[in-house]
């Protein structure tokens, strides 16, 4: 884990402890993905509605806290603003509202929605013959939803070469409807598929930068670990799915982050 990855995880733990709201393990699986996306795409934190920006959608909306913390790291807003996470009248809900938070392009939460919106955005940009690109992060658990596969079929059929789908393969699917060999499935659906270590920022950035073959939808299977960075979270995913740490748990998780940092 890089020092930046550690800092973002520390922010998440601190805000989760203070707010009493969690989804920490799923946040920890996508931090490197989110960081790599924002370190690669065209965007301007000081002008979030810049008309030439690329677009990123967090379709697995329950990782909103990670998204907020990464946006803060890139300068969209002060990290301390997120301290009100989930509180009454806060701008920073446990699922993001695009009308409240700079940098959020679509309000997500109910799974299987963000990817369809992203397909529509990519189609709009294609009609306009724009060079802007659309990136969307979906989860493997989320991919139990039929709309994910509908949206992929539509994107492939429309030859949306400006769309990159990142699949957070953090093994959430093992809890219920299992999706083995996701890369083979996405290939069968007609995507240009690559597999990457979802906690290796450099590899992620290389893949995010690459273009698909003309007109093909690009799909990056990012192999990750739920709770990456803290042994306790990896080993006790069910218990930690939604909860936040108390004082002693917080100290333990912070120590574990230290041990995992290179």
């Amino acid at each position: 884990m890089t020092s930046i990855g550690k800092e973002i995880r520390e922010d998440i733990l601190r805000i989760s402890k203070a707010s009493g709201h969690g989804h920490i393990p799923t946040c920890f699986s996508v931090i490197e993905i989110l960081y790599a996306v924002y370190d690669t795409i065209k965007h301007d934190p000081k002008n979030p509605s810049w008309e030439d920006r690329d677009i990123f959608i967090l379709s697995k909306g329950h990782a909103a806290l990670a998204h907020y913390c990464v946006l803060a790291k890139f300068g969209y807003f002060d990290i301390n603003k997120i301290n009100s996470f989930g509180a009454f009248m806060s701008d920073f809900g446990c699922h993001a509202d695009r009308l409240k938070v700079p940098g959020i392009e679509a309000s997500t939460g109910s799974l299987g929605h963000g990817i369809g919106i992203a397909v529509g955005m990519a189609l709009g940009l294609k009609i306009e013959k724009s060079n802007r690109k659309v990136f969307v992060l979906i989860g493997d658990g989320e991919s139990n939803e039929g709309t994910v596969w509908e949206a992929i079929m539509v994107a492939v059929n429309l030859k949306l070469g400006n769309l990159t789908i990142i699949y957070d393969n953090n093994m959430s699917h093992l809890r219920g409807l299992q999706i083995y060999n996701p890369a083979e499935r996405f290939k069968a659906f007609g995507c240009d598929v690559t597999i990457v270590n979802g906690h290796d920022v450099d590899s992620l950035k290389r893949e995010i930068t690459k273009s698909a073959n003309a007109g093909n939808v690009r799909l990056i299977v990012a192999n990750t670990k739920k709770g990456f960075g803290c042994r306790t979270l990896i080993e006790n995913q069910y218990e930690w799915h939604r909860r936040s740490p108390n004082d002693s748990e917080f100290d333990r998780l912070m120590r574990e982050l230290d041990e995992e940092t290179v």
Binding site: I117, G124, V154
Partner: protein
Amino acid sequence: MRRQFRDTIMDLAKYDDKIVMVLGDVSVYLFNDFKEKYPDRFYNMGICENTLISVAAGLSSQGFFPFVHTIAPFVTERSFEQIKLDMCYNQFGANIVSCGASFDYAWDGATHHSYTDLAILRMLPHIEVIQPGSRKEVDILIRSQYNNGKTTYFRLSDHPHDIDVPVEFGKGVVLRDPGSDVTVMTAGPILGNVMEACRDLDVNLVYFHTIKPIDKEIISRFKNSEILVIHDAFGLYEAICEVPNLSVSYHGMPDEFCTWYGTLHDVRKKIRLDTESIREVVSHKIEKFRKS
């Protein structure tokens, strides 16, 4: 109505290059001219109603005015959450134009009947709900609402009425006001049957093509009369009941699936929405109210 929808869109598209058609494998042949003239803005996206809505929301976010068009129950009941979240909550407004209203597809059975669409959609914030009854209403209301940034539901029927009424979005129309103690309120194509049924009865008659926002002012004008809502769907009655201190009753949908096949007219007769049955119901209401 569908042909009018096509004609209106063809005309608007001459001047507005932000119109995008998103079809669910319905009316594809009807829009052939549009497809040939504007190939970059015509998409028969397939039989995937949920994704049609989500994609239209995404198109809207990029400044387009999408028209999602497919069969009513599938694009409303199945895709309710996509309409609620992707269009309304996100405020990525788009147009949803359905066909197959109420019992237009009577012969296809209960899977293809659509009578909850108006009622469920009107509950959502940031949406307009329109049930045009005639070709003229389709034309005027699409032109006035399609590019206002809101989500607008247009419910088309293959059985329009041919009554010429004034058309202004959000405004009900008083068709008859003899100062009667009973007021019939109705919406959409069933007006044809209602007008014929009430032709010489002593009732006031109020008509709506806009279900949301409902014209509360016009309803309030008749609050001292007994209001009878006659409608071949849910939604209008519930909207009227939001006006306080009314005495309202409903004649329309039964609490059962209408599994009799046949034609629209067969089903209307079975559930007592044919002209003769409506006349009996209204006459009974007049008589009962007079006695009380």
